[in-house]
Symmetry: C2
Subunit: 206 residues, 2 copies
């Protein structure tokens, strides 16, 4: 694709570096911006560079924050002695939008994945362990994706927590609501049979 202007080409190339955006989509987005006011585009650019420069990570839970401590950790209405361990901030947002969880979080920043060169040292596991020890946390709930990397990470952290008097749980695995039994994979179906629930608790949860 030959573009008639190097300024345009630079902007298109920058957009095309974003995940899931190819050259054609990048061009569409850039031409859209070209139609906007200079001020609006300036605001677009500034909000992104400002975000990157000024955003902080909560010193306690490693979540994204505007201050040294994030709004969830700073909220005294939330149970500060329960920690939900998640991979990234998208998972925090997903769990928050259920409005069913009232504790704090800990963002690992990834999961242990030797094939991608990610070991425990690249994650915030040490911060988590120190935090649990210092704060006398009552419960750690793992909410990691159900795959090898997630399970490895749970196993690794759980071993580190063995000497502490903390309850360690994980979110339930099973058949999704709206999912169909016949299309569920064997592993999920087998696990959901093993971990079957009393009907009363199931009905109460709806």
């Amino acid at each position: 694709m030959q573009l008639p202007s190097s300024l345009l080409e630079n902007a298109v190339n920058e957009f095309a570096k974003l995940p899931g955006i190819g050259k054609k989509t990048a061009l569409r987005l850039v031409l859209h911006l070209l139609k906007q006011d200079t001020d609006a585009v300036q605001h677009f650019g500034d909000s992104i560079t400002k975000m990157r420069k000024e955003i902080k990570f909560c010193q306690r839970c490693c979540n994204i924050a505007d201050a040294d401590i994030c709004s969830i950790c700073a909220n005294s209405m939330r149970k500060q002695d329960i920690i939900c361990v998640v991979e990234n901030i998208r998972d925090v947002i997903a769990i928050e939008s259920t409005q069913q969880y009232n504790g704090t979080y800990h963002v690992l920043g990834g999961v242990i994945s030797p094939l991608d060169g990610i070991g425990p040292d690249q994650l915030t596991i040490e911060t988590l362990v120190n935090r649990i020890q210092k704060e006398h946390t009552q419960e750690v709930v793992f909410a990691l994706n159900p795959n090898i990397q997630g399970d490895t990470t749970i196993y690794y952290i759980q071993k580190k927590l063995q000497s502490f008097p903390v309850k360690v749980t994980t979110i339930a695995r099973g058949i999704s609501f709206g999912g169909e039994l016949e299309y569920a994979d064997e592993m999920t179906l087998a696990r959901s049979l093993q971990n079957r629930l009393p009907v009363e608790s199931y009905v109460a949860g709806r």
Copy 2:
């Protein structure tokens, strides 16, 4: 979607203003940028605001340009007495990538569309007519999308050109290569029967 930081929220909202990008995609893009170097993100922001501020439009053909005259108009190897009239710069890029056209362009900036409130005055039609008169253009080739708005625009401009000694043509309409006759709409099929070609010219064009 409740975000834990107002800086993050601003950036996500700005991205979500772009066409075809919803809040979830915007968040994915912003979190991707958050993982990049501050310099890379600064470069991203700058390339966009710089593009918007410094880009020019060719004074002759209204195409996007780095200088007062675009690279196509400034190229003496191209036939300067043929003008291909297109709706927008994306069409210029599409035609250029065929490598089959060696004339100049004129970018209208849209087509006449009363329902969207776009009349002839919002387009660069006057510039085009003045240019044809001044430059003694030999041929005007319309390459507009085959719909009511495109046809109206062709009709309107053609009437303005009646007094000039210029050949006015339009790109051929017909069955696409790879298209199937039985699925073609009646209008396309009827037009391609009316405008049938001698087989020699068809074979030569392949």
